[in-house]
């Protein structure tokens, strides 16, 4: 067991835990965006920063979702530095997504009063990478990835063409925290017309035109009669 102090509270956690896990375990709320319990931590959004002081070192900000618990450290999750840092991060994320309701709610929670920087092109995708990691770790197909760098960075399929790896499960759409993920960009727009012929073939493959489907008529009638008798 490891002993540390979080928000002046002495806390005992098992080994191989991150600070965020320790905080969640003890009911301390830390805002996150790129964290999901079903996925490996990513350390991308920097909203989960906490102030960490170790004896003999200057206190510093660390991302709690990837920082492991260490013996004797003192952690502050709501100091002025932490709050200012989170507010700035949220404002910078909002710069590209200043109309997304989910992001606005998050900004409000963290005390962002006004978004001072606004990118000319708005994009609800905040590059948290949840969709990419969910596709890799939960679904196990890796149909999407983060491509390009800097301002051009975005989530896309390899070569930005319809992915053949995609199984169409939609986990990426579901996990997206801002509703930015567009499913068509992965699966493409080519909808197959319903293969009526194939389906007919399946139905009448052996029986020719003979309809061999089960008959519900008698069953329904019998059921209803038995119901009436009971009544």
């Amino acid at each position: 067991m490891i002993h540390l102090t979080i928000d002046d509270k002495p806390i005992e956690v098992a080994e191989n835990r991150t600070l965020l896990e320790a905080c969640r375990e003890h009911g301390i709320h830390i805002p996150t965006l790129c964290y999901h319990p079903a996925l490996e931590p990513y350390g991308g959004c920097r909203l989960c920063v906490v102030e960490l002081s170790q004896p003999g070192r200057r206190s510093r900000l660390v991302a709690s979702c990837v920082y492991p618990c260490e013996e004797g450290v003192v952690v502050k999750t709501n100091s002025e530095t932490v709050i200012r840092s989170r507010r700035m991060t949220a404002e910078l994320i909002l710069a590209g997504s200043y109309h997304t309701p989910e992001m606005l709610a998050l900004g409000e929670e963290l005390g962002v009063k006004e978004v001072r920087f606004k990118l000319p092109e708005e994009n609800a995708c905040v590059l948290c990478g949840l969709c990419v990691r969910a596709c890799k770790e939960i679904v196990g197909v890796s149909a999407i990835s983060v491509i390009q760098r800097g301002i051009a960075k975005k989530v896309a399929t390899p070569f930005q063409v319809t992915s053949s790896r995609c199984i169409g499960c939609g986990t990426c759409v579901l996990i997206c925290p801002t509703g930015a993920f567009k499913f068509e960009s992965v699966t493409g727009f080519q909808y197959v017309s319903p293969l009526e012929s194939a389906y007919r073939l399946g139905y009448y493959r052996l029986g020719g035109e003979l309809d061999l489907r089960p008959h519900f008529v008698q069953d329904v009638a019998e059921l209803l009669i038995s119901m009436k008798e009971e009544e």
């Binding site: 995609c166 199984i167 197959v192 073939l201 519900f216 329904v220 009638a221 059921l223």
Partner: protein, 699 residues
Amino acid sequence: MKKEIIMGEQTAEFVPRIGVVICDCGDKISGVLDTEALRKKVADQFEVVYSVRDTYPCSKDGQERIQKAIVEQHLDRLLIAGCSPRLVEKLFRQAVQPAGLDPSYLNVINIREHVAYVNAGDPAAVSKANGLIEMGTARLATTSLAPSHTGRVVKSALVIGSGLSALTVALALADGGIRVTLVEQTGALGGSVPDLQVRTLELIFEKSQTVLKHPMIDTLFNAYVSEVSGHPGDYEVRIQHGDQTTTYAIGAIIVDNGAQHKKLGASRWFDRNKVKTQAEFEAELEEATEPGKMLELNDIVMIFCAEETQLERCSRVCCNIGIRQAIRTKQLNPDANVTVLFRDLYLGEVGGAHEVEFMEARKMGVTFFRYRRDRPPVIGDKTVDVLDTLTGEPVRVPFERVVLSMPLIPYDNAKTLAALLGLPQDDAGFLAEPRMRLRPGRYADPGIYVLGSAQQPADTTEALFQAYLTSSRTARFLSQETISVQTPVASIDPTLCTGCGNCPQVCPTLAIHLEKRDGVLSLSEVDDLRCIGCGNCVVVCPVKAISLPGWDNIEIPAQISAALQRRQNGGVKVIALACEWSAYAAADMAGTRRISYPSNVSILRMNCSARFDPYHILWAFLNGAEGVFLGACPPGECHYGTGNLYARERVEKLKKELSAHGINPRRLRLEFMTLENGEKFAQAVTDFVTDIQSEIYRK
């Protein structure tokens, strides 16, 4: 009990020990629902021996607490009521395994997206969550083990056909050390070569020489496949070869039976001596090239896309053949007037060789007219009338010869192959992919590949690309030692099966076949490795001999009953059967977007709309459901092929029966939606509930 009469099955004597973990999710769930009240309620259930609230069961500590509880309380079933199983089920499946609980005895139900997020502030929210938890425990109490299945992979491939792509695949695989059996229906290699190109012919000749000499390739001439059995990776293929039949053990089957140019029949609308197809004209050109001969035609009109269907489905090769023929005509007779009437030109080839040919043809003086789709060219006695789209004026072109580009159509044996291998055919008869949107080039059966023009018309480059793609896919498939199936698969009780033959017909993967029993009767058997677990066979079985763990004939009615037991204050009881790939996910989306819908809808997660059983729908109505809502994938997007179409057909049929027996058919509704359609789900469910309420008032 009524349930047992209907289902014809008895629940076992064994009483399971169910543990229930109710997640607070920080305060996301506990802030809306009284999770302690939920826990107390579920603890009253007979089978539930352990119940606990947890802030974050998904955390590492939470998982450890779950493992500890399983061991200490000797739990053999576990229910986790939290967020969407689509995200966390895998996590918990991995978490419970070290504690000795089989993952098929784990059930994750969603009280966050389906209740807390959508019914916040609704006094009935707790009762809805309670109903969902009861459904979850009801499923666990009745579920059975879903073992995983493995099978061997034979390192050999069968190639049907010997066209360019077939030869390419055979060589690529054989070079990779895989034994290849090549089956050719005629006496020579080469196939039909629909693009009539010398270059392609040379390539084919070169490849066929290598194939004949290759030690890893067995070539069978005048042979055809007569029977295929077994499962992916381990097929048993009977090949009729001359007079004898040989059985081969094959790992993967590659189909390339090619395509042919449609023949032009006699017609009374035009003079057949003057109107030729491209293939016939090619022969004329060949003849004219011979020494001492010459082309004695001066006015030649070529019409591309001669058949209406080619406008929908490009035949890929005819534009290139036509332009090449135009150039050759000009070379043979520079004074000839060659006119090309086209709808659209397909000049796609890597490197742009066809573009060059097109430019060359224009430089040589070939005239091109584009015609409109609704104003096709009209062939008269001596002239062709066409409306030029550039000038918008009608043009009359005199002709001595009209050359029509006929569409590529599949060979007749495509139908036989489709039946033999369980491949779908599209409207034109090509062996089209069933799920082009999701898995291009992949068929329901992972060991079967179709390529070249057998799948859709392909030019040489496309055929080669496809061939190399397929050979790498096949090699990857065959390089596995064993293949295994983790998803639940159907199994048939041989003592109940009457051998009626319903299930083999509806199976999308041909996983079921009939077997002889005592030489007289027959009974069905499921191939574990081919079954994809859609449940279509379970629905059609008249004696309910087929079971599918997780979505069985006991589990689903038990869940429906549990859902309908909950008391509601004045509201109607509606049960929604939701396909997990569409409607269930759409409900999750509605939750994430906080789009609320009435709380009296209980959502039951189903594997596929093919499993929407009329009996279960009836069961719901007979147990007091006011409405049954069904949510399925839109047609053409079913993950199991055509399950949604079966569902549609069954619902239509059932509606007639319902109205004939005094149940208003409007109480049953099937809606198609995609998984992104959270708004549509909420809207459809709300409308449905409103409709039912008005129906009930009218009574």
